[in-house]
Symmetry: C3
Subunit: 271 residues, 3 copies
């Protein structure tokens, strides 16, 4: 059933407005093109909300954050809410600096997000902000041991914000506060490629944009697709190749991914 969400992206060609960091932005643009979506990057206060209004989805990514970009993110986020298009928050570095944590929380207060996608420590930083001190002390990774606690944390954040929450790690969790996908796609080598998470957030926006009203399933499909492409790419890696070849092969796998492949390759269970 998840294959249909990829098909929807390939048919709708959604335009995704990305306000994102300058480290991984090129890969984000090529990832969106690989998936069948179109990227547009614009972060000037003079135009950001206008660009959002022309788009079908929005990604706000806190990497290389600057103070001047915060009101721009807020304006684009509010425009996405007014337009009824999905906004995705990638709270890169929340918990790593007070500035990023504070900004992530401000965005959560003033924008309704369709999806929040981060790793466990970032999601913890957001959850802690609401006075839910977190009992998960396994650091940055979701492992079988920490799965239940991480899922409870994600569910709480989803209920509080109304967003689908996607926590990515060894196992990925995607929940709307009630149903939850536990996803087992992916490969450990993806941690050695910069921006795999940023790319996934953009992909999630494209999937959500192409399937309105089905955000939970669309987000789960995006997470499965990215992980599956990480597996496909790893299988194609020659012995001498490293993380640069791997980065490109992941993008190439997304470009060639078919709905049937996604359908067959997605490995998840519902909780």
């Amino acid at each position: 059933m998840l294959g249909a969400f990829l098909q929807a992206v390939r048919q709708a060609h959604p335009l995704i407005h990305c306000i994102t960091n300058y480290v991984t932005v090129n890969d984000c643009a090529n990832l969106l093109l690989a998936a069948g979506a179109s990227p547009i990057m614009a972060d000037a206060p003079e135009e950001a909300a206008e660009i959002t209004a022309r788009s079908q989805g929005l990604t706000l990514n806190l990497g290389t954050l600057q103070a001047g970009r915060v009101p721009v993110m807020l304006a684009s986020g509010r425009q996405a809410n007014r337009s009824g298009i999905p906004a995705v928050l990638d709270p890169v570095g929340a918990g790593a600096s007070a500035f990023r944590t504070r900004t992530a929380r401000q965005l959560l207060e003033e924008v309704r997000f369709a999806v929040i996608r981060g790793n466990l420590s970032e999601i913890q930083a957001l959850a802690a902000g609401a006075g839910h001190p977190c009992g998960v002390d396994a650091g940055d990774r979701i492992t079988p041991q920490t799965l239940d606690a991480a899922l409870e944390l994600a569910r709480q954040l989803a209920r509080r914000t109304g967003a689908v929450v996607a926590v990515t790690g060894e196992t990925d969790l995607v929940t709307d506060g009630r149903a939850a996908f536990c996803i087992h796609n992916g490969h450990p080598m993806m941690r050695h490629v910069t921006g795999a998470g940023c790319q996934l957030s953009c992909l999630t926006a494209a999937f959500a944009a192409a399937s309105p009203g089905q955000t939970l399933q669309a987000a789960a499909a995006a997470v499965c697709a990215m992980g599956l492409c990480g597996e496909i790419a790893y299988a194609r890696l020659a012995p001498q190749e490293g993380n640069a070849a791997y980065r490109d092969k992941i993008l190439d796998a997304v470009y060639r991914l078919t709905p049937a492949q996604l359908e067959e390759g997605a490995r998840y269970e519902l909780r």
Copy 2:
């Protein structure tokens, strides 16, 4: 005859100052190196004009535009005019936001460009600014059906600005307002690589810089070269490869392109 223009770049090694967006800037730098030119990126008001004065060509690209970069672009553009080196305008997103359209027109008023390179909708946005409402309603693509109208539009913009105008699409048009090259190189998959247009604008600056006084032919040679490398790269693409491999293979094709290959592979007619 176009091969000689590539030869000139390989011999002159022109230094090209790029004030450009942070999405595709790395590919622009590697593209210039592949062609035999040298890139320099600098966009601080304290140094931009000084860097332009040391360069042999300038590219101004409106992607991820910020208001603070507009006076920097004006200062570098004027310095290019004073120095007598070619300035290339890539009006990325003109027509997509009022800010970009307004900035593109301001640059056109205050800087004499050697070449303006954009897609049809961007060129339309510039042409409309002068009170030439555009009769081309085919959107973003130049097709056989819209070719004549697009060529007339490009010729008018070229005559009004004194710049060579390059409109890229399924067919590419390069005109100085009188003579025109209709260029049939390229491959549709290039639309799935972010920044192919940005790279072409940088390449055009390098070609124009290396052949002073022959801007029309140099720009046409750059457009043919980029499109031809898109064809060569596509022919080398393995079935599993996608837009990431394609992006690299285009750059690699530019790196290995010989004047004789360009001479033989350029497909154009004069109009």
Copy 3:
């Protein structure tokens, strides 16, 4: 003996804070991951010093410098000094504009760097600032003819600043003002890849961070490693491949480089 320094990076996984340009930043991040380190990019005044305080190494790179980033670099540099972690200066473009030269000198006055890494013209620009007019007039390249003069220049800068100075070119020089490594690794094609120098500066920070108190040897090991990977990558280049494939193959070679390979492949003499 140099292989041990790579081994140390692979074991310590140092977090390297990079304040760097937007042209080559993605390659810098992937290079650090390839080496076994972790990158973090942050350049907002609100958080930069806080991020430095969480890191094990710092790189300050002057590419695409903006005035607003200078106090951020100073704050992070001072924090690195307080924390006792190595700070690496890459004075990209020193000598190419007054702004960059001035900023590089200001950083040298207010921050104690563990390593300064640049090409000959950049190092000359720094040395000249101290009233040591430079007798090396061979421009940007270290050749056998200019080696002695370049080494004397590097030694003077090292003695004046207390930093290890690495001058990269056809031959690379690494000196603490007394001992000097003359390194013969590398391949001329590395000059056709944008950001090879930026990547090396980040790698040097990772090597220095993982081997405290052995900065001279660690920096020499990083320079040998990068050059050796340039050689390995060149040997793997197919006839049709160009600088894009080469860029990726260098990163891949770093990813796969073993301490034994580095030990065996490092080509240097002590002076």
